[in-house]
Symmetry: C2
Subunit: 279 residues, 2 copies
């Protein structure tokens, strides 16, 4: 994968592009399994395990490539600015996985009931009540969440938010360290701005190493949260959830690209209010 003439950022970007292509491929596989009405739990569980292993592999590669070069991962140039504004320690917030489940549960329950009401068909009643999966191919699976599952998910949510807060605090502390000795004082006492020396370089290397360590911890939390969610869900629900996560990630990248493209085209300027023509 490493290209001898490339720099570390290129290596990191190649790794990301591979990951995005893999996600798109897995998305098709998950979709296929659901639309075929795949009922074999073992097969669906296999697909879910593969998705988790994929992320674990990707996190391992990021860790290897980040060591003293972790800054790139905190606002990657290969992301759109929309995605970068959503970043939490180099990726998505683990608690957003749980938010996604709640969103799916709400939306799919509504979807199922509105189908039932529209069809005005008593045969659909059992489906509306979540007794069968029918031809939706698992797409409504989250409306079948049981009270026990919801309780476990809620418990996981609380724990995840706590773990997130702990890492956020560590991140804040690492950020603040740069306003301390030795960096702040090197900046203060050097004659020329940006002049560097071995003390500054070592401090910056140490800072990037610490940030790389934090990235590993955040990726671990993302993976364990995903794994626990998959354990709580049924096989169909797990595949449904993983599919939704991949779709959202891929869509956000595309939406970000569209918006950036449109802004460059649309901004005719001339208005000091910063308004954009046509929007």
């Amino acid at each position: 994968m490493e290209n001898p003439s490339s720099n570390i950022e290129k290596v990191q970007e190649d790794c990301y592009n591979e990951w995005m292509s893999l996600q798109a491929r897995r998305m098709t596989e998950l979709k296929q399994a659901l639309s075929n009405g795949e009922k074999d739990d073992a097969k669906l569980r296999d697909l879910a395990r593969t998705a988790l292993r994929d992320f674990e592999d990707y996190a391992g590669k990021r860790s290897k490539h980040s060591r003293r070069y972790s800054s790139n991962y905190y606002a990657p140039t290969w992301n759109t600015c929309l995605e970068n504004a959503l970043l939490w320690i180099g990726g998505c917030r683990p608690s957003s996985f749980i938010r996604l489940i709640y969103a799916m549960c709400g939306s799919q329950t509504e979807h199922r009931f509105s189908n039932f009401l529209r069809n005005d068909n008593i045969d659909d009643l059992s489906m509306a009540l979540g007794e069968t999966h029918g031809e939706t191919g698992g797409e409504d699976s989250m409306s079948d969440l049981t009270a026990e599952q919801l309780f476990k998910i809620n418990e996981l949510h609380l724990k995840t938010v706590q773990a997130e807060n702990k890492l956020s605090k560590q991140s804040a502390s690492l950020q603040e360290d740069t306003a301390d000795i030795p960096m702040a004082m090197a900046a203060f006492y050097k004659e020329e701005i940006g002049e560097t020396d071995v003390v500054v370089e070592r401090a910056l290397d140490k800072h990037e190493e610490d940030m790389a360590g934090l990235l590993v911890e955040a990726d671990k939390l993302r993976l364990t949260t995903m794994t626990k969610i998959v354990e709580i869900l049924t096989a169909v629900q797990a595949v449904d959830f993983l599919l939704a996560g991949k779709k959202l990630h891929l869509a956000m990248h595309e939406w970000g690209r569209c918006r950036e493209h449109r802004r460059v085209e649309a901004y005719g300027g001339g208005d000091s209010g910063g308004e954009v023509a046509g929007e």
Copy 2:
């Protein structure tokens, strides 16, 4: 300032470049005042007020340019990746201003005493005890911080961290909202990845507006924290603090640039371990 042919990102970047040039100019003025041994408190207070007003003006411009285009400010392309990894809601953490004061206080006290010990000169004793400023031109002013000042700074620190945490929570909540209805469900139900519609566009516009609002709040907190610090400090200390802040900001930008440049040159690749040749 707006260039008719430019896009919004260009406008934002121009605004940032103006701000950095202004900081460099102000840095020279502050340095000059200190090295001239400026004793006129009113003049020094004027310089401090100007620095605060500069930031207020800049924040006003950012607010105007961000409204529905705030994403750029959360990981600006004009920053180095080192700086972006340090970003908190589009800028530095207000608590890092206070950390900088503590760093200056510690380092300058040490500096003063080591000068005294090296010179082995009893005449320097009064200086070592902070009774005069001498020819350091205010550069050691932070070692004169009184117990009362330190108490007030500590109080401000606690309040600032609380306010930061409140904004961090809002930021987390806005980030999580994107994994909710309508965006997550639009991503889920659309046939084609990245397909958009008026609902998605409205939700993304709303998201950027909310993030722009958060940026305004964070800038307000940065300004009020700086203002309160300046009020607690003596005129010389205030100028010393503002100078150190500007130096650190400008130095971090240069250090980030140097490191990026060096990485591109140094990364010879060939080592799958992701190590960099020569480092």
